[in-house]
């Protein structure tokens, strides 16, 4: 199994351009997440989804949009890129959360490095 696959792995944008990051998982996971990783700030949650057709805001959602039209895919969009969005973006998925049933162990993709000039 491929697990969690992110495309593209690298991208350079100019300020104001738009782009979409694609995350695909083949584990039939219900929950999917987009994080950004910046030096000294750890991982911060951008948006997440608890099922097909649902999305919710994380702690840093401004400037991003997401869609979960199919259970296996979670798209992260930047409508008008800004230099502050230069970061490494990680997608993750999990089978379920809560309780003693394995409680939301995340499987991560390899990351997408985005540079906005």
């Amino acid at each position: 199994n491929a697990g969690v696959t992110q495309t593209p792995k690298f991208r350079v944008l100019k300020t104001g351009q738009s782009m979409t990051l694609l995350c695909a998982q083949d584990m039939n996971h219900e929950y999917m997440y987009w994080y950004r990783q910046d030096p000294g700030m750890g991982l911060r949650l951008i948006h997440y989804s608890v099922g097909e057709g649902t999305t919710a805001k994380g702690e840093v959602p401004d400037g991003y949009n997401v869609s979960r039209l199919k259970k296996q895919n979670f798209l992260l969009g930047l409508e008008s890129a800004a230099p502050s969005q230069t970061s490494v973006y990680f997608c993750a998925s999990s089978l379920r959360t809560g309780g003693l049933s394995g409680a939301n162990v995340l499987t991560f993709g390899a990351g997408s490095r985005l540079t906005v000039l």
Partner: protein
């Protein structure tokens, strides 16, 4: 207050020496706790997790962590580190009604030959 606090941003340690990476959590997150490891240019992978039961949790690669409710801590330990343990380590906790995972800022472990 930060939900998950990692007290050290970098920890240098000599090869074969013991190491402890510290993590404290606040009441705003659950007591379902995790440690993840990130090797250079890779995604994160699970080291170990605490859900309930024994407060000493063993994970992969010889790591273990102890859950301490009174001190709201979940410190990670290894009795003897190897060069291959050089990586960034993240403490994390379930939050937001168990739908979200909140991460600390990470601790870079540098193992010195």
């Amino acid at each position: 207050a930060q939900s998950v606090t990692q007290l050290d941003s970098q920890v240098p340690v000599f090869e074969e020496a013991p190491v402890e990476l510290r993590c404290n959590y606040s009441s705003s997150v659950s007591v379902y706790l995790f440690w993840y490891v990130q090797y250079p240019n890779q995604g994160l992978q699970l080291l170990l997790k605490y859900l309930s039961g024994s407060t000493l949790v063993k994970g992969i690669n010889g790591f273990e962590a102890e859950f301490n409710k009174s001190q709201t801590s979940f410190h990670l330990r290894k009795p003897s580190v190897h060069i291959s343990d050089t990586a960034e380590y993240f403490c994390a906790a379930l939050s937001g009604g168990y739908q979200k995972v909140t991460f600390g800022i990470g601790t870079k472990l540098q193992v010195i030959p």
